[in-house]
Each structure stands twice: as structure tokens, then as C-alpha cells.
Symmetry: C4
Subunit: 270 residues, 4 copies
Amino acid sequence: MIRLVNFGAVAIALFLGAAIDQRSGAAQTPASGGPVNTALIEDLVAANRILAEEGVLDSYGHVSIRHPTNPNRYLISRTLAPGLVSADDIMEFDLDSNPVDPRGRGLALERFIHGEIYKARPDVNAVIHSHSPAAIPFGITQVPMKPVFGAASFLWVGVPVFEVRDVGGPATTMLIRNGSLGKALAATLGEKPVALLRGHGDVVVGPNVQSAVRRAIYTEVNARLQAIAIGIGGPINYISEEEGAARDKMAGGEAEARAWELWKRKAMGK
Amino acid sequence: MIRLVNFGAVAIALFLGAAIDQRSGAAQTPASGGPVNTALIEDLVAANRILAEEGVLDSYGHVSIRHPTNPNRYLISRTLAPGLVSADDIMEFDLDSNPVDPRGRGLALERFIHGEIYKARPDVNAVIHSHSPAAIPFGITQVPMKPVFGAASFLWVGVPVFEVRDVGGPATTMLIRNGSLGKALAATLGEKPVALLRGHGDVVVGPNVQSAVRRAIYTEVNARLQAIAIGIGGPINYISEEEGAARDKMAGGEAEARAWELWKRKAMGK
Amino acid sequence: MIRLVNFGAVAIALFLGAAIDQRSGAAQTPASGGPVNTALIEDLVAANRILAEEGVLDSYGHVSIRHPTNPNRYLISRTLAPGLVSADDIMEFDLDSNPVDPRGRGLALERFIHGEIYKARPDVNAVIHSHSPAAIPFGITQVPMKPVFGAASFLWVGVPVFEVRDVGGPATTMLIRNGSLGKALAATLGEKPVALLRGHGDVVVGPNVQSAVRRAIYTEVNARLQAIAIGIGGPINYISEEEGAARDKMAGGEAEARAWELWKRKAMGK
Amino acid sequence: MIRLVNFGAVAIALFLGAAIDQRSGAAQTPASGGPVNTALIEDLVAANRILAEEGVLDSYGHVSIRHPTNPNRYLISRTLAPGLVSADDIMEFDLDSNPVDPRGRGLALERFIHGEIYKARPDVNAVIHSHSPAAIPFGITQVPMKPVFGAASFLWVGVPVFEVRDVGGPATTMLIRNGSLGKALAATLGEKPVALLRGHGDVVVGPNVQSAVRRAIYTEVNARLQAIAIGIGGPINYISEEEGAARDKMAGGEAEARAWELWKRKAMGK
């Protein structure tokens, strides 16, 4: 049996057996994309916990998934440290990042990163924004981040750096707190899996949440190893474009499940 | 209901239902600033535990808060590793760092750091002194500590380095063990949030204990990331003064609570 | 009493009291090398867990042992993160890396590393393939890995680097997914205990699983220390060939047991 | 009530109520220095566990104390990973490193480090030999280890490097496995608190076990911080000789107890 979670006011009202339309008078509140399989919500919760456990997400940062049946909605936690997120904290938004059912909960300030990437990238079903500590130095120095080992081969397409000053001027708070900045960031990301935000962190995307989590973790690991390699002394023998492209063609399925199983066990204690 | 903790001898005497004035004959013992809300004491205890858990405080270092109703008193643990501090260990001092109610307890040797900063900085209600490991190298080398990512943007005003030799001569123990050294350190700090102590550690201040803790943790993280960036190779694209100033104007409230909640859960196990 | 584990279909059939020959019609399925002492299986499981606990193996990588009574068979986990491996996950293979009793289980993709090394190295009874994080940078830079402290003295014979492009061409996935690549890797390893795989990880071998585990851990530690030494500044006073050779002659027995006991306790929680 | 532990055969015989003199016929077995307060043994056990917990001791290395009532005896664990040592593992030796009561137990191979230092240094009552990971690179490079922060100020007298090739020739195993090498190491140490062993580790001594533990931990921390400072770029403003000498005159008592209490709690789980 598939269990479903309802996010919209109507669905909740039905769930409670109530007939009142709570949306009346709230013209700008978007409708829910419909109920979501609880297993998918559990994966999203696990992704939050895994990335906290593995040191990719600190108290900030967030993970989202696109709504499984309505591509114009996405799911993300209310503002909360990822290490503390539970299923009850997941909220639904439209792609302009308006909440479907706010109920007074705090909204992730930089949720526009997620909405704008989902608009620009139909292939993407999961987005991570983190302060990935080893990645940050590569956003503020002159050495491009490049893949140094196989598990991070997806970086072979290049890792663009988003400079918020180019879009928001010299005196922003650096936060992606509106659709305009989110749209510019999505443009910098282009068709790639990872972009760095100068002096801030990174965004990592994937076709599903397991893939995005794997990429976020191995972006962090790759950054650590690349910095060590630079310290040892070059030239560095990076993963080539041909090797990266060959690996992109491998089905990620089994390998991804193997890592996900371990990470989930460590993060969720089961 | 607000619960209160009494620190002064009179208050304790009343609490015990006794009529004896224990202060008789102890002319130099200052009077207590009055009872303190237990929630505030719990925050001070949590701050000690959090900073130990996050690797900012080792066996030494200390955290204090200004007395909430008497600005001429401050609260700090008896001499004890911060990771072991409980509410019962908190003592009260006047700003010359005389204890209100010593009861034979060991006094933090460098408490003058706290007293003198509270004298000089009416805006400050929490002071942290740590041996923050990543920060120490920036106090003994020639590269100024500067903010490399948003969460440490408060460093944009600059991080002065206190050289104890300039004040105490070439043969001190380097410890801030009297009011004179504490006053000189407070002068070096000036209006800034952080100062480094050469070959020793740092001091971090804030308008409240949550803010000071956040700054102490992100000073440590920033130092780690800046050292890595230097290793990768410059020039480094630091957070600009304009960006730092813009972030200073953001209300810290929600973001600070988000991190505090996670750190407290990790450190206090609940 | 010595307990035995049976891997072959016949042995399992006997164990279940069944008379059906499950091998009929499966001409290419090799016969089992015979039952294996459970203590040896437990050591193989412990090796997986230890290397995960010590940070040498991530979600990938694997450990194998040669079959104790049939040198043409080896034992390795089904595809599974090493930190999750239990005795039930151990499978048996011939040296062409065909499974004795697949039962639909996922096979370690790069198991050819193991089979080909067992063919080439009769002295080897345990093989580890890892993404040892500190070792990877030495496979992509220009400084040879050399022993910097006694516990890693076995590196004195040199650490060759396997370049998959030399064998598989410029566009492989870099994975050792067939016998041909495995054979080339075994040739690069030669008579040595450790070889690096460029942009991938390392292989470590030993006369028994305890020895291979010790070498894998100290290869990782040596890499960390060598990188730090390079950062401090050379020339570096490495372990000499004469010292390395002298240590090779020491009986490893007691010293190895000492470390194994601690590592096992940490990894297995007992 | 003071409880005592007996190490000698006679004492044990008495404890067992037996009258047999087990020493008969074992002319070279030294007599015990007499019973030892169990609290002192507990401190020695705690020292082993603390140094393992803090990452100074790996599976190897050892801690000893001089016998409290007979300066010609010392106490050290049988050969065992320090993280596993209990009171029952402690053995007694004379200063030539002969065991008082072997009972077939494995002897620490490099115990001669301890015996020879106790001979040469009447002021020393505790000796630690470790593979302190951050310290090893300073024994093989060209930058002398010097104190970078107050807690390691005891290094101001200089940290000599013992080169085993100078004494044992080019082809030793590098282990201090006899009195002659131990004596040479003690000579290199001289009157100082710490010496590095090239490509091996360090020795750290103190007037008591708490002091030696504190020095061993802060030698490791100092090495980490000095390596980071070198990476940031010099010249480095080290702790001066005058500052170091001033700190040497401070009573270590209270400060040492403060750290010991925390370390013990972490290591012993109580």
C-alpha cells in the first residue's frame, strides 16, 4: 500500500473531514500539486540528515525535491537546521516560491534558488544548496574546481562560479532572497550539475534526490582532495573530459543505491 | 512562571530562610546584582557545552554574560573545563572581577578579559575567550584574518591582534590575569566583534550569548577556510566591506535561532 | 570445534539435506573450493568494518581473501558498502571472477582486481581495493609516495601508479571491470604491497587479511603525514631502503595482533 | 583508606595466602618495589585511554610511571593497544627493563625508552612514547618545532630530534629495542620535556603522569598549528624564550587538573 501525504489546504481539510475552504480570501496562495508518497518524503528527510551527518550541510542550507506529480511544485523543509528535519517540517511551494500552506511556518529565505532552478531545468528533480566547507575556497580563489577522482567525475563539464555582485551590485547581503537572483544563479548553473556561489557555498542538482546527495557529498570530497593535491604540487593529472563523459553514460543505479544505503544507516541510525 | 537563581550572599541567606548577614566583615565583597532567570543561566551553560562540542573551546577558555538587570555584574563559570559546566558552577562578579559569593570556588584566572570588556563596551552582553585552534595561526603570521564566506561576514570590520608584549613587556606568562592587561585587550578590541591574542587565542563578543557563540564558531570556520584558500592560491576574493555592512543590517534573529537550536541539541543531547 | 561455512551449491544442498544438483545446466559455474572456517569469514567481515571505521573505505571499495584450501578461489562480499557487510554477504569466486553460487546477488563490479592479483601473486592471500582519500592525491601529482614513518616502512620498495589510459585508452570509465584491466593492474603492482590507481584509489595486498588491513591503514596515514611534511618544507628525511628492508624481516605477528585487536574492538563494538 | 596493588611475586603470594617463594631459581628477576596505591594505577590507565581518545597514541605507543616508593622501578602496560589498557595489564620493571613478574605476558618491545630515561632523569616520574601524528612531520623536515601558543610554551627550550642512524647505523628497524638505543635517546632528550624520533614519533616526560599527558597532547596540537601557520606564511611570531621561562614558573596544578578532569571524563566515560 502506498501512503500519501497531503500538503494543500483542501487536502488537509478533507483529511480532517472538514468542509471549510481555507483558501477563501487568499487569492495568491497556490493550490497543492496533490498528495505525495510518504516514501519520497522519507527520502527527502533522509537527504537532509545525511548531508548534515556527512558535513556538507551546517545549520543552514537546504534540500528540495520537485513534486512527483506536478512539475510546477516543489517540496522543502520549513526554515530549520537540516540535521533536525522531520517529515512534518516539509512544505510545498510553487515555482515562484509561494507556499501552498504556510500555517505561519518560517520559510527558507533562499528558497528562490530551488524554484528558479526547477523552472530552468526540466531534467532536475532535486536541488541542494549548501555551505559545503571544502568547496567554498574554490569559489574565491583562481584555481577552477576539477574532478580528481572517479566518484566526482560528473564535475568534468566544469564548475561555474556565481558572482552575486555581477547581478545584485556591490552591496547585497549575498543571499539569494528573490526570484531575480535565483534566476541569475540558474543561468550560471546552465546545464551543469554543480555551481559555486562566491563566498557562500554551492548548488548541486540531480535527476533524483539520491543522485543530488551523491553529487553534493563527492563535490565536497573532491574539493578536499584537489586542495591536498595542489599542496603536494602539480601539474595535476585530472579526470579527462573523455573519462568524465564515459562515466556519465554508466547507469548510476546500483552504485548510487550502495552509497545511499550506508549514508542513510549512519544518518538515521537504522 | 519565571524561575530565578540567586547569586549573592543575602539572596542565598533569604533563600535558606536565614537572617545572618554573611557579608559582615567582608567589606570588599560586592553585592549581587539580583536574581537571574534560570533560562538565561541555561543558555550560558549551553554556550559552554556548544563551544566545547564544536571544537572552539578546549579544556580552557570561558564564556560570560552580563547580568541581565545590573550592568555592573557578570556571570561566568568557576574554573572548570567548559564541556563540564553546569548551572551550579556559574558565579557572579563585579566589573573589577571580584566574586560576589566565592564560597571557596576556583576563580577563572583570566576573568579580567570579561570585566574590562563589559566596562568598555556597553553594547556587549556576552564575552567568549577561546583557544580557537584555526584562529591561533592568524595571530602569529602576516596574513590578516578576513571573511571568506557569508556566515563570517561580521569580520569585515577587521580583526585586530593583541600583542601582550606591548603592554606587559617581554616576559609575561601571556595570561590576562589582571585588570590592567584586560583593559589593554579591551582597547585593542575597540568596537569590533573579534580580536586575536597573539600566541594565545581570541576574544569574541556579542549583544547576547547566542550571537557571541555564532560569531565564535564562524570565526573558527572562517579561519579554516581562509587557510585552505591561501593554500590553493590567491588573490582571494574576500567578502567586501559593502557586503559585510549590508549583512550587519540584517536582523540576526531567525538565522541565529536556527543554528542555536541545532548546536544545543548536539551539545546537550536533547 | 571448528565451524565451517559452505559456499558451493552442492555444499549448501547437503547442508539443507537436499539431493538436487543445482549446478546442472550451468556449465560455466565453477565448483566451490570447499567449506571455510567461520573464524576466517569473521576476520574478512571485520576487515570490511575496520577499514570503513578507519576512513580507508567509503561506500565503495572491497576486501577479499584467498580461499584457505583452494588457491584458485577467493571470497569477497556481494556489492555492498563495506561498513554494512556481514558473514551472509560473502560470496565465492574463481580466479576469472565467476561466482560459485550467485543466487541473484549483485557482484562487485571491480572484482577482477582481486582475481587477477591472486593469479599473479601466489604469496598474496588478501587484497584490498579502496578510495583511500589521502592516497588519491599521490596518484595524480608528481611526488612519489614514500614512507615517512616506521609503521609504513613497507612502502620502501616504491609505490607504482597504474594509469588506466595506458591500457584501456583515453575514454574508459576508469573502473577495473574486466580481466584484461585487472591483469594490467596486477602487472603494475608487480611484487610490491601497494599500487596507486590514478584518479581512483589504491590496491593493497598481504599474506593474510590482518596484514593487508594494517598496510591499507598505514598507507593512508603515511599519505597524510607525507603531504603535511611537504607543506612544512623539505628535503624530507624518508625511511631508507635499508631501514625498510630491516623492518620487513621483523616478524609482524605480535605487533599486527596488537593493532588488529584495537581496530576490531572499535569497528565491531566488542 | 588507601588501597594498594602488589606487583612482586612475594606480594602476590602473600595476597593468595601462599607460602611458596616463587622467586627461587629466578636469579635475574628483580624484586618488586612494593605495593602501589590503586589511585596511581588508575591514573596510569586513564593516561593510556586519554592519549588514545585524543589521537596522540594509536595502536602502539605506551605510557609509564616511576614506582612511587622505589625510584628504581617503573610501571607500564603489557604489550597492548593503549585504548584497551586496564589496571590488570600494568606490569613492573626495573630500570634495565627486566620484568618483576612476567607471568608469560608480552613485554612492550620499546620499554627501554622508559627505563633509560628514568635512569638519566631523576626529576621525571612519567614517560610517554607516541606516534603523535602531527609531530612526526617535524622530525623529518627542516623546520624546528617551536611553541606557537601558550599551552605548548614548555617547548621553548627546543625540541631535539633523535636520529637512530647516528647510533644504530643505517639498517636498524628504528625501534628502541635495547638499553643502548634507549640510553642514546635519553641523551638526546637531555633535560628537555620532549624529543622527536625521526620517522617514528616522540617521547614526552613530566614530573607526574598528568603533566606528561598534558605535554603530549599540546605537543600534538602545537604541531598541527605550527604546520598551518607555515602554510599561511611567515615569519611566525613564536612564543619567546622569556615567555616560555615565565610560564614554566607558573604552578601547573590547577590548570592541569582542569584539563585532566575533562579528558578523563571523555576517555573513561564517567
